[in-house]
Structures are given as structure tokens and as C-alpha cells.
């Protein structure tokens, strides 16, 4: 009786799990196959070389990355507060954080206009005091993407924080470390895989963002037209071009996500 691979339970995988798993996989992959089959492969090169495509791709990558940075800066502390601070009403706060998940993105865009637009609650003040107007700008694109993507990061980091071993933090505290030092030197390294996974999710969500972006930031090539917006408008007149654009977006995101996964979360 020799022992088998430690991480593989004995016996065949049960069909009651395998069958739905395969169905789920086919359901997710079939639409992708549809895109690949219908793609105009012969004209792919010339379509890709169009400056508008590259411009939209660049804008998408830059704005999704900036949005992820903003999500990390504000989302990680927010997750920490949700996981570690005990105050009445925390449940309500947690529910509020997840609002952008259930809000249709277009509504999110309108909400952003009502808050940060020229006539918005805070936007009016921003314009009067600093002359800053966010709609129709690249900054507006980044904000719209941040709004929609942040919950993904917060939820994933909060989950990691709750699963982390509190005794390590307590041990650091008994050794005289301040709370900030503990957060920086103990907590953050502990939840790093959760942060990385959240950031990847967040980036992917930001990259594909459409509704909030077009509603809040509008659509102008080079300034606010990201790839999903370019895809939507191409679909109006030239579905083939739309397929090409979608494939580019897909290919780029798959490459980036695969690379990041190995580097950041390779251990987990």
C-alpha cells in the first residue's frame, strides 16, 4: 500500500461533479468559439493597424491600470476597516460597498453624473473651486472604471483578511509593534495573494467596462473611447470590425492575466 500523490484524493472524480463542470465550461467557451469562427482572419492585419484601434487599446490599458491603482489605494484600507473594525452599522457599510456590483453600470454612470457632473452634488463645487470638470475626460473614464471595479477588490481582500491568522498580528503587538507597522509588515504580506487576486479581477472588470464609462465620460476617440466603446460603435455599422476589436481585447487581457497569475499568485 503505497501512498499516492498527496494533493490528489484517491479514485476517479465523480461524474456528478464532472458533468456540470464540463457543461459550465462549454457554456463559457462556446460564445468565444463563435467569435473565433466568425472572425475575418484574412483582413485581420489591416484592421489592427488602424490608428483608432491602437489608440483605443492604449487608452483601455492605461485607464484600467490607473483604475486598479486607485482601487488598491482606497480599497485595501476599506477592506481592512470592514474586516477589523467593530462598530455598529458595519453590515450596512459592507452592503453599501457592494452596491456597484448590483447596480446596472449605465445607472452607475448616471449616478456618477449626478454626483460628480457639472451640476452634481460634489461636481458643482469642484467646478466652482478648481475649475475641474470630470465628464468627457480621461479622468472621468478612470473614475467610472474605479467605481465599478472597486467592490471586486474590497470583497476579495476582506475575505483574505478574515481568513488570516490573527495570532500573528497579536504576536507582533506583544513585541511592541504599532498598528501601522503591524499592517505593513505582518497583515499585508499575509493577505498578498488575496490582494493580487483582487487586483487582477479589478483590472479585468475595468478593462471591459462599458456602461458607466460611456454614460459618465462619453465617447471621443483618443480621449474617452476605450475598446469596449469602440466595439459597441463598430457593431452599429461593421460587425466584422467589432469582432476583430473584441478579439484584440480578449487576447491582450488573456496574455496579461496569464502572465500576472504566474508572477503574483504562482505560489497559491
Amino acid at each position: 500500500m503505497t501512498t499516492r500523490d498527496a494533493d490528489r484524493p484517491p479514485g476517479r472524480p465523480p461524474w456528478i461533479l464532472v458533468l456540470p463542470a464540463l457543461t459550465g465550461l462549454v457554456f463559457l467557451v462556446l460564445p468565444l468559439a463563435g467569435l473565433l469562427v466568425r472572425a475575418p482572419w484574412s483582413t485581420l492585419g489591416t484592421r489592427l493597424a488602424e490608428p483608432q484601434v491602437l489608440e483605443a487599446l492604449r487608452l483601455s490599458l492605461v485607464s484600467a491600470t490607473l483604475a486598479t491603482v486607485l482601487c488598491l489605494l482606497f480599497g485595501v484600507p476599506l477592506a481592512w476597516v470592514l474586516a477589523r473594525v467593530r462598530l455598529p452599522g458595519m453590515r450596512l457599510v459592507r452592503a453599501l460597498v457592494t452596491v456597484p456590483l448590483v447596480l446596472p453600470p449605465v445607472v452607475g454612470g448616471v449616478a456618477l453624473l449626478l454626483a460628480l457632473g457639472r451640476r452634481g452634488l460634489a461636481g458643482r463645487w469642484l467646478e466652482a473651486a478648481f475649475g475641474i470638470s470630470l465628464p468627457f475626460t480621461t479622468a472621468g473614464v478612470v473614475l467610472a472604471e474605479t467605481f465599478v471595479a472597486m467592490p471586486f477588490l474590497v470583497i476579495s481582500v476582506e475575505g483574505a483578511l478574515r481568513a488570516a491568522d490573527l495570532r500573528l498580528e497579536e504576536a507582533a503587538a506583544t513585541l511592541g509593534a504599532s498598528r501601522w507597522t503591524i499592517f505593513r509588515r505582518v497583515t499585508l504580506p499575509l493577505v498578498a495573494p488575496g490582494v493580487a487576486a483582487g487586483a487582477v479581477l479589478c483590472w479585468a472588470r475595468a478593462l471591459g467596462e462599458f456602461g458607466a464609462t460611456i454614460t459618465f465620460a462619453g465617447n471621443f476617440p483618443g480621449r474617452t473611447q476605450t475598446m469596449p466603446l469602440a466595439v459597441y460603435l463598430a457593431l452599429e455599422t461593421d460587425p466584422q470590425a467589432a469582432i476583430v476589436l473584441s478579439l484584440v481585447l480578449l487576447a491582450v487581457s488573456v496574455v496579461v492575466l496569464a502572465a500576472l497569475r504566474d508572477r503574483w499568485t504562482g505560489a497559491s
Partner: protein
């Protein structure tokens, strides 16, 4: 895989068409029938009213509308969506349907729409004529050139020799209207019917050059209509005097 997709398509078709095949002989009789009309978003108000009157004169018939962007509707039709009637906001989108052989007979123009300048009620940008849209610092939103309202805007501006640097090229005319409504844009070009439907929140300013970019709205019964007879009757209603009254009431012009 092909068989699975065919089965899925069949299920969807059945679900969408309802019990379209039952009671085929009883035209307008007691059997439950559904007439499916795909129509441009700008027709929402007028066609909903016409649909109700059609149901009144055809007991047992239910009229279902799918309002949306003309190009998206045209694509759904050419991809096999079960529809009886298609009313488009531009001849170009209707052409993609007729070219694909999906229309039955020649499409007929039933209405015309023209552009107006939409501004917030207080008119913060002090816009009075088309040339004002070129003023630097004024926030103007237009439709993207890929959608009919954008093509019309481009034509009107070119005819007037006015060069506008838009803050945004929106995905459809309702999005332009939203930006003006919320005061984010100082002005936008929308159809007269849209300005009329939102009269409480935007002011529509007519301009002479809009005559150069009048949009024709064609309608056609579809070749694969589940209810061909009802489809023809509905097209007849839209082209009738009653249809004309409903359309002009919404701000359309007669062809």
C-alpha cells in the same frame, strides 16, 4: 454542437413567438396571436399608441414591440429573430435587411424626422443658431457618426459649413438627450421628436439647415413573419391617416 444550437434556437423562437401558430385560420378571431414589431427607439411613443389601437380593432391579437437602435434591430432580424414588422430610422439600416432578403416587398417611407438643437431650459450656453455650436468653450455632444442621428448631424453641419468639436460622440440620440437634460452638455443635436418628448427638461431650437439632413423612416413587413397577414395590416395602419396623425403628434413630418 450544431444540433444543440439548433435546438436552443428552436426553443427561443417558440418562446418568443408565443403560440403564434395556433388558430392560424381565424384571422383576428378569438385565438391568441402575437404580432411582433421591431421599431426604432424614436418611435416608442407613437407606435405604442398605434399598437394599442391595433389591438382594439383586432380582438385576440397582442402587439409586442422591440424598440431599440435601428442598426441593432436590423442585425437581430438578419440573424433570424422572429419579427413581423420592421420600422427603421434610416433607409441605410432598412437596406441591410432588404439586401439580406429578409423583407417582404418594398419598404415604404412613412415619416420624416429632422434635427433640432437641444439645450437645457435656461440655455446656459446662449445658443440661438447652428453656428453657435462652433463657439470655443461650449460643450456640445453629438451622436457618433456610426449611428443615424450622427450621420444626419454631420450632414447638417457640413451643409451649414459649421465645424464643431464635440465633447463626446454618444452611442444614440437618447444618450445625447440625457447629457443635455442633466446639464452636462450646453447643447446637442437630437431629433425633433426626442426634444418634443422631453419638452419639460430641454428646449428644442429649430434651424434651417436641418432641411438638408431629413431622416426618412421606412417600414416593411418581413419575409419570415410568423403573422404575415397581421404584419401587412399593421403596416397599413401606420401608413393610414390615423397613423399619420399619431406620428405628426409626436413631432414627425409626413413623407
Amino acid at each position: 454542437m450544431k444540433r444543440m444550437m439548433a435546438a436552443a434556437a428552436a426553443v427561443l423562437t417558440l418562446a418568443a413567438a408565443g403560440c403564434g401558430d395556433t388558430g392560424g385560420k381565424r384571422d383576428g378571431g378569438g385565438g391568441a396571436k402575437t404580432l411582433t414589431v421591431f421599431a426604432a427607439a424614436s418611435l416608442t411613443e407613437s407606435f405604442t399608441a398605434l399598437g394599442r389601437s391595433f389591438e382594439g380593432t383586432h380582438p385576440g391579437v397582442k402587439v409586442r414591440f422591440n424598440f431599440g437602435g435601428s442598426s441593432a434591430l436590423a442585425q437581430q432580424i438578419t440573424q433570424g429573430a422572429p419579427a413581423d414588422v420592421f420600422a427603421a430610422a434610416s433607409p441605410a439600416t432598412m437596406k441591410t435587411v432588404t439586401d439580406g432578403g429578409a423583407a417582404s416587398g418594398q419598404p415604404q417611407v412613412f415619416a420624416k424626422n429632422r434635427l433640432v438643437i437641444a439645450v437645457p431650459p435656461q440655455d446656459p450656453g446662449k445658443v440661438a443658431k447652428l453656428a453657435d455650436l462652433a463657439r470655443p468653450g461650449l460643450k456640445v455632444v453629438l451622436c457618433a457618426e456610426q449611428v443615424p442621428c450622427g450621420a444626419a448631424a454631420e450632414k447638417a453641419l457640413a451643409a451649414a459649413g459649421v465645424r464643431v468639436k464635440p465633447a463626446s460622440q454618444e452611442q444614440d440620440v437618447k444618450a445625447v438627450l440625457t447629457k443635455v437634460r442633466l446639464g452636462e452638455a450646453d447643447a446637442g443635436l437630437v431629433y425633433r421628436t426626442d426634444a418634443k418628448a422631453a419638452a419639460a427638461q430641454v428646449k428644442g431650437i429649430e434651424f434651417a439647415e436641418s432641411a438638408k439632413a431629413v431622416n426618412d423612416y421606412p417600414i416593411a413587413a418581413l419575409a419570415k413573419a410568423p403573422q404575415p397577414a397581421l404584419a401587412r395590416q399593421f403596416v397599413g395602419l401606420v401608413l393610414s391617416g390615423q397613423g399619420r396623425t399619431a406620428l405628426t403628434g409626436a413631432g414627425f413630418e409626413s413623407p
